[in-house]
């Protein structure tokens, strides 16, 4: 597994090989022979460039909209998400086109928009809460869409997606079955996963099962914390996700694939923990008291 590479075939195990052959068709690399026609080709203005080809990054937000999120939690979440989008607009710089997709889950699972939207054009549609917590169904739906033939269909290169889960309760369906399906998806395997538990009911162990490690799971017990944590995770994960890996090895030894495997996920865990530990606890009233 550690040496696994996401190639066309691996990425499309869930669909079939038709997508892979489609990609092969798309790749018409330039042949080097001719050059003589260029003098008569008038589309040769050295200044008429299009934007540099970018890598693509999709940030998936998986948001619990079950009934228990009603009120302050949902109000806080909607507000912070509205504010967050403009803040991370420039994160891709000249290298990466960042898109956002939002999947909500309560009794049903539902995408906010029918395809990932470029972050520059993304507008947050305020969410409402009602129903139960179908996390397993959300995992299945995410796995279905994380495919070259669906939401991850950029013709150019992609970075592995960022997947950010926010929930306030214990799943009401068989989340393990859904997670198992998701875990077989290569985009998930290489993706950057983080999760936020909201209030006392959210189970950090379930969340760590999803992210694959405890250090990318954080918890918010108040409105102030919720806003802080969403920003910390979203900003950090989109920064790391939209960039190439940072190298920090100082041994002077040649790096191997094992050295860099999952380097971004480790970095994410490290940075989230550092940022979380430096946050001050506000005097906000906890979500779970005063009802």
């Amino acid at each position: 597994m550690t040496n696994e590479n996401i190639s066309d075939s691996v990425m499309n195990t869930d669909t079939d090989s038709s997508a892979a052959s489609e990609i092969d068709k798309d790749i018409n690399s330039e042949s080097t022979d001719d050059n003589n026609s260029s003098l008569l080709d008038f589309d040769d203005d050295p200044l008429s460039a299009t934007a540099v080809s970018k890598k693509s990054l999709v940030i998936f937000f998986l948001i619990d909209t079950s009934g228990s999120m009603k009120g302050k939690k949902m109000g806080e979440l909607n507000t912070v998400m509205e504010e967050l989008i403009p803040e991370i607009r420039r994160v891709g710089e000249a290298d990466t086109e960042v898109k956002v997709a939002v999947l909500t889950f309560s009794t049903d699972v539902k995408w906010m928009y029918q395809a990932p939207i470029p972050i520059e054009e993304f507008e947050w549609a305020r969410l409402r809460a009602s129903g139960v917590t179908s996390l397993g169904a959300a995992f299945k739906e995410l796995s279905l869409r994380m495919s070259r033939t669906s939401y991850l269909n950029s013709p150019s290169l992609s970075f592995a997606p960022v997947i950010f889960l926010m929930t306030d309760g214990y799943p009401s369906d068989d989340y393990k079955a859904g997670l198992k399906e998701l875990q077989s998806n290569s985009w998930y395997k290489f993706g950057l996963k983080a999760a936020l538990g909201i209030g006392q009911e959210a189970n950090d162990n379930v969340l760590a099962e999803f992210t694959g490690s405890a250090d990318t799971v954080v918890h918010a017990y108040s409105g102030g914390q919720l806003a802080q944590m969403i920003k910390i995770i979203a900003v950090t994960s989109s920064q790391i996700g939209s960039k190439s890996m940072t190298l920090s090895d100082e041994t002077g030894r040649e790096l191997s694939e094992q050295d860099v495997f999952s380097a971004k996920q480790k970095l994410l865990g490290q940075q989230i923990q550092e940022l979380v530990s430096s946050q001050t606890d506000g005097d906000d009233v906890p979500f779970d008291t005063g009802w």
């Binding site: 050295p46 200044l47 540099v52 041994t251």
Partner: protein, 447 residues
């Protein structure tokens, strides 16, 4: 991490305080604030020392850089160090980016986002070089800035597209983020940005130095001219997802230039790398050869990378080969038809341009209204590529008569249509004619 509050006063190490006015932006190493210091608005970079590996050494290096001063006025250089906080955090003050400069990132994106103050919506405003001369001048300026830095014995370390501001109308540049600059051979924990980093740095077998700067410089120049990634072609795109291990492979262990003449495995892909495909056909061979060398032999042998002085000469030549035709077509002379050795003909409108030969080089300079040549081109000892020495102008009294104006501070000897040599003083001019000869005092030119 200690963040600064708006309104907070920060004490400087050698006296005075800076008052924090607002946040300008934040990056990997810390946050930049707008401050008022000595009655002037400045930028204050405040570090997040938790993210630094060697904060003490970094601070000492910064202090050395401040006392050494910038290698030239092209650097937005650190000016004053702050006092250290109790927890060890610190920062420094630099000038604000002057108006009229756009970031290299925006140039590569071809637009910048501006927030409409009325609606709050982000609006895209195009960012594009005003002329081909401005673009090539920007390249010369970038190369020259790094030549000056390296001559001062320092390396930039993490050269990338975030490190420059460019004036798209003039080609003037400003190198920013100068705080990682360090004496060649030292490193304070900065690796760099993959895609810009030299393969040996990506692989972990070398630390940033002057030689790795040269690789990064070639990437910056390639991106500016060809608007794409020199190592991203078919081989890389086939990976679909750029994981950490595929980056290590394609930018480190097995980096292959998209136009490697001996390895066609990584050619640009139509529909994705259209800029590179289009622009590679436009540039003359001597420019393409320099990039081929940088990204083939230069990958494995750092000492074979193109030195800044050679880049500078190549691009000064390229600038002298631009033709702006009256029909609106602007391109390099290699993209014009050459009916004979001395003439270039526009393939679009048929207009012909004669050219000037020089005794110190083989390539001829096409003459068109408004074209200029520079001091370094007529004076072998000069490195001055910005002072205009001569310009092709129309005689103000005799419409339609074109001539060369002496914009230099020296007199030239010029052969006039009567066959005699005349002394042409600074500010004077002479007609362009079939038997024209110019003696600049050492270098000679002729039609």
């Amino acid at each position: 991490m200690t963040e600064l509050e708006i309104g907070q006063e920060v004490e400087m190490k050698y006296g005075g305080t800076a008052k924090v006015l607002s946040v300008i932006g934040s990056g990997g190493q810390g946050t930049v604030y707008l401050v008022r210091f000595n009655g002037m608005k400045c930028a204050l970079k405040w570090y997040d020392i938790d993210k630094m590996k060697k904060p003490e050494q970094f601070r000492k290096n910064l202090e050395n850089n401040i006392s050494d001063g910038p290698p030239s006025d092209k650097f937005l250089w650190p000016k004053y160090l702050t006092k250290e906080n109790e927890d060890g955090t610190f920062g420094y003050i630099m000038d604000l980016k002057p108006a009229g400069f756009d970031s290299f990132v925006d140039i590569l994106n071809t637009y910048k986002l501006e927030i409409d103050p009325l609606t709050g919506h982000a609006v895209k405003r195009p960012v594009k070089f005003a002329s081909l001369t401005a673009m090539v001048t920007a390249v010369i300026n970038i190369v020259n800035a790094f030549r000056q830095l390296h001559r001062a014995g320092k390396s930039y370390q993490d050269l990338n597209d975030g490190g420059f501001f460019i004036n798209v109308n003039t080609g003037a540049i400003l190198v920013c983020d100068c705080d990682n600059i360090a004496p060649d051979g030292s490193n304070f924990g900065i690796g760099g940005k993959p895609g810009y980093m030299a393969p040996e740095v990506v692989r972990g077998i070398a630390q940033p130095n002057v030689q790795t700067d040269k690789y990064s410089l070639a990437v910056v120049l390639f991106k500016l001219l060809f608007r794409g990634d020199p190592m991203e072609g078919e081989k890389v795109v086939r990976d679909v997802c750029l994981t950490e291990s595929s980056e290590l492979k394609h930018y480190g262990q097995n980096a292959v230039f998209v136009y490697d003449p001996d390895d066609a495995s990584n050619r640009p892909v139509r529909g994705i790398h259209d800029n590179v495909i289009k622009f590679w056909r436009i540039y003359p061979d001597y420019i393409k050869d320099a990039f081929i060398r940088s990204f083939t032999i230069g990958i494995k042998e750092p000492t074979k990378r193109i030195i800044e002085n050679d880049w500078q000469k190549l691009f000064v030549r390229l600038r002298s080969e631009i033709i702006m035709c009256g029909c609106g077509r602007t391109n390099f002379s290699s993209m014009f038809i050459q009916p004979d050795e001395k003439t270039f003909k526009c393939p679009k409108c048929g207009m012909e341009f004669t050219s000037l030969g020089f005794s110190n080089r083989e390539n001829r300079m096409p003459l068109y209204l408004g074209c200029k040549f520079y001091k370094c081109e007529i004076s072998p000892d000069s490195d001055d590529f910005t002072s205009v020495a001569g310009e092709l102008v129309e005689n103000k009294l005799k419409k339609g008569i074109l001539g060369i104006k002496n914009c230099s501070d020296k007199s030239w000897q010029v052969k006039m249509p009567d066959g005699k040599m005349y002394d042409i003083a600074s500010g004077k001019g002479f007609p362009v004619w079939q038997g024209l000869e110019i003696d600049f005092g050492g270098v000679r030119a002729y039609i």
